[in-house]
């Protein structure tokens, strides 16, 4: 292991100028990367796509070794763990019954209130073909990419809870940034107080709770779910349980990225909120029994219309004269109008 120099072809420090130039270039790359963090994303995605078939073969023995190591390290407390899990299971069964009852109750109330339906969720099942734990990055590589409608920002969950989110999508592979990663920050809600907070990874097993609202009451054991703020992640995905850490709080995650083999990439479509179609009764002037306002001036700049009645919508035009005097028949007709615009299946009787 000798470091002897056989043929030193140049004097010491002869690379001063190239080194200075390359140093400046490297600093420039850091600065450009700061301004545009997706600088290398295309190259990374291409390399991962290219490596995907090989990774699928290579990762199996490594995962087996990793899983065995995990099992051995957890094997010592298996009896105590079993007793604890049985107790927890019995408790959770009670909660499950309560949850089912509450769910049907909430559904009934929603239908009674004509509440906005929950956003539609669809998911893509993907296999984990790679994991990497570097000092500044904890990631997971999945065998689903743009070809499977996977997009950056989508949430990745396993059977227990949220693992992370997609931050780079190639054609057939995608990279997941784990919740524990240094760069991960997601908006969460702490239940049951419904306190908003930020969940920030710091490369430790349990990420930190940051930016708690003033006066927020948080205690160990509270549940943490995604808040859905920002409209990128769906709300209500279970994440973990609050644990105390000195003066602050951390979250013990429900999921275990080290052992997850199959995960779901959740495609969250925030529904576009369309205002309800106004009826004649919804117009204030019409409801007050007055004739509708004259058409806007823009209409008059075009060739003059033959008569004002032609400009006014037919459904609105005859209404004022009829509704000047409150008649039972006139009030009954608009009442039927919202039913025509409401989505199907909103009948409270049907849900009960």
């Amino acid at each position: 292991m000798a470091n002897g120099t056989f043929r030193n072809t140049r004097s010491r420090g002869g690379y001063q100028l190239p080194l200075t130039v390359l140093f400046v270039l490297a600093v420039a790359i850091v600065l450009i990367g700061k301004a545009q963090s997706t600088l290398f994303d295309r190259a990374r995605a291409d390399v991962t796509d290219w490596m995907a078939p090989g990774l699928q073969i290579v990762h199996r023995p490594f995962d087996w070794v990793s899983g065995s190591w995990h099992n051995v390290s957890e094997g010592y407390g298996v009896y105590e763990e079993n007793v604890r899990l049985k107790e927890e299971n019995a408790r959770l069964r009670q909660w499950q019954t309560a949850a089912i009852m509450l769910q049907s109750q909430v559904k009934r109330y929603q239908s009674l209130l004509h509440a906005v339906p929950d956003p539609s969720l669809s998911s893509v099942l993907a296999h984990v073909i790679g994991r990497a734990k570097r000092p500044f990055l904890e990631t997971m590589i999945l065998d689903a990419g743009k070809a499977n409608t996977v997009k950056p920002g989508q949430a990745v969950i396993d059977a227990r809870g949220m693992i992370g989110r997609i931050f780079l999508a190639g054609n057939h592979t995608s990279w997941v940034i784990l919740l524990t990663d240094l760069n991960s920050r997601i908006p969460v809600t702490i239940e049951p107080e419904h306190s908003p907070a930020l969940l920030a990874g710091d490369n430790q097993k349990a990420p930190m709770l940051e930016t708690l609202a003033q006066g927020a009451k948080v205690k160990p054991g509270d549940q943490v779910v995604s808040s859905g703020d920002g409209g990128i992640l769906p709300p209500g995905i279970p994440i973990g349980t609050v644990i105390a850490d000195g003066a602050g709080y951390r979250v013990a995650l429900l999921s275990d990225p080290a052992t997850s083999q199959e995960v779901a990439v959740v495609d969250f479509k925030n529904p576009v909120e369309a205002p309800p179609v106004p009826t004649a009764r919804d117009l204030p002037v019409t409801a007050a029994g007055l004739p509708p306002a004259a058409p806007p001036p823009a209409v008059t700049t075009t060739p003059p219309p033959p008569a004002p009645a032609a400009v006014v919508p037919k459904s609105v035009a005859p209404a004022p004269k009829k509704d000047i005097a409150p008649k039972p028949a006139a009030t009954a007709k608009p009442a039927a109008a919202p039913d025509a615009t409401s989505p199907p299946g909103d009948d409270p009787v049907e849900d009960q």
């Binding site: 470091n3 850091v30 290398f40 994991r131």
Partner: protein, 168 residues
């Protein structure tokens, strides 16, 4: 002629191979053990032994490859490799004269410079103090693996590039 070409490209190819192996997204022992800086070892070794075969440009390229494959912020390892190269280049006489445990210590110093630079850039990049333990783990693993890696590099150098000074 062919053997001369092979000898010339071997250091750079080995450095790139080291980067690729270190960045294979496979979790060894559940991610408890971080991967060593396999790309830095050939850069350091040939920067001392035959700097004409590992000029700064190739150290830059190897660092860039590390950045691309590791998935971290762009430029962090490029800057770390170039900084390490510059400091080792300035103190070549001191580093090249080391042997045995001293050579291991020499690499430990070089790896510490690389990790400290990466840590500092990362802290500035995100404007927060990253945890120290993962970087220390990577540094420890790099130093630990330098011993077998250096034996391999010496063997490759003798077979494909030429004899070392210590061979005379």
């Amino acid at each position: 002629m062919i053997s001369r070409v092979i000898g010339t490209v071997t250091p750079v190819l080995l450095a790139m191979l080291g980067v690729m192996i270190a960045n294979l997204p496979v979790s060894v022992l559940g991610g408890i053990v971080p991967p060593p800086l396999l790309g830095l070892m050939p850069v350091y070794f040939w920067c001392l032994v035959r700097p004409d075969l590992m000029p700064p440009f190739w150290a830059f390229v190897v660092g860039l490859l590390e950045d691309i494959l590791s998935g971290g912020p762009p430029g962090v390892w490029t800057l770390a490799f170039i900084t390490t190269y510059a400091l080792v280049d300035r103190q070549r006489d001191a580093f090249a004269g080391l042997s045995g445990l001293g050579a291991l210590l020499g690499f430990a110093v070089a790896a510490t410079i690389a990790c400290a630079t990466a840590y500092g850039v990362e802290a500035l990049y995100y404007w927060r103090i990253p945890p120290l333990a993962p970087v220390m783990g990577e540094l420890a693993m790099s130093v630990f693996f330098y011993l077998p890696a250096a034996m391999f590099l010496v063997s490759v150098h003798r077979r494909l590039v030429g004899p070392l000074r210590s061979d005379f």
